[in-house]
Symmetry: C2
Subunit: 236 residues, 2 copies
């Protein structure tokens, strides 16, 4: 653990609350456009539900590398039909697609990251593309030292290249990196690449009564309640 020099972060769900943010963005659009028949929370869940299948077509090699903004847009175009949302201009659809650039951080994220940054290099290791992560960070005040991950590696997590390329770009061996995530599968994949792991549960990710990614007792190097607790446990 003393070798750890960088913390690499999952972002959607771990750093930011995608569900309430996408719902908020949808509701704002609905109000502006007089769209009254849509349950925007269901819309957010449906959009997120298309995330893994869309990445799977890239992971499998069925299609060439495609960044997440473009996958989100393809899913969105389908969803607009399913939810019978019409009358949006191209600019409005693009703005809605970029709602993923405007996700709000969990309340502990910025204070926790700010403390953690005193002692560690902080990098994103997300499936979100660089522009998405940069725009999100500027809006939310997330103090990343580097925005890395899937787009830079041209591989989506949990493929090992995503983790290994990120460590290599940081000039570190995998065991000098600690993956921080609210999702066990992400941490297990990082661990198989040699990363240290920190599990930070986010029980509200899927909303009240939503599924909770749990049952990971003893599997990870650190378990923290939130990012401030993680900073304390890592001596910052």
């Amino acid at each position: 653990m003393k070798d750890v020099q960088a913390l690499t972060f999952d972002v959607f769900g771990t750093v930011v609350d995608w569900r309430s943010s996408i719902t908020r963005e949808g509701e704002a659009l609905g109000q502006a456009k007089g769209i009254t028949h849509v349950d925007w929370t269901k819309f957010a869940d449906a959009w997120r539900g298309m995330y893994q299948p869309a990445m799977n077509r890239v992971r499998s090699g069925e299609r060439p590398w495609t960044k997440l903004d473009d996958l989100h847009r393809e899913s969105l175009d389908d969803l607009l039909g399913e939810f019978k949302i019409s009358g949006l201009t191209e600019m409005e659809i693009d703005h809605l697609n970029r709602a993923w650039h405007r996700l709000d951080p969990w309340p502990d994220a910025v204070p926790g990251l700010t403390r953690l940054r005193r002692g560690f290099i902080l990098a994103t290791l997300s499936n979100g593309n660089v522009a998405l992560m940069v725009n999100m960070a500027r809006r939310a005040g997330l103090p990343w030292d580097a925005v890395l991950g899937a787009e830079v590696a041209h591989h989506y997590k949990p493929q090992p290249e995503a983790y290994l390329t990120t460590a290599a770009m940081l000039g570190l061996r995998p065991e000098q990196c600690m993956m921080v995530a609210a999702h066990g599968n992400d941490l297990l994949a990082a661990s198989r690449c040699g990363f240290r792991t920190a599990y930070v549960p986010r029980p509200a990710e899927h909303g009240p009564g939503g599924k909770v990614d749990g049952g990971h007792d003893g599997k990870f190097d650190v378990v923290a309640n939130d990012f401030v607790d993680l900073a304390v446990q890592l001596g910052q």
Copy 2:
């Protein structure tokens, strides 16, 4: 010019003063190790002199992608012989090689970048590798939103892929990016890719009486005395 959303920066010479920093690092090593026969300024110039030839072997395809830390190390190993420097441990040689991670910014760099960041995305577009840029930024307080450039593109400037990949990763068209550099050839290459250009001369880069990269009147969109002046000219 109103379309510009990101400023992309050359770093060595433009943001940081590599020559006096490498000299300082060499002198510190010399004192610690009792090496008295070396002119460390000449050493710094010789090391930097091996920079373009080393990258040329990658640009030409003579050798596969090799990050700058590794090119620097190969040059350093040669230089230690040429300057008859012996008795260094592997750890000391590695520490000296990473002197490039510890370069000092020009005095206007941090205040200028801090102002510029209010209005623009700031990204490195350097031939330095990501780890080098991240470590430099943490030490010097350089407020980058993203560390991009040659290593991410696997092409050294002035090859067009370095510029075009950086713009693409920022989610921007080339004309939405402005390259900032003290070197005309870098700006001309960026301009050929569609970037806007800002020339910030650094007459002290090569020391007193050293060569000055000048004669660029009228070629670039902006000419600024330093980064604070650049911020003023760009309305920040």
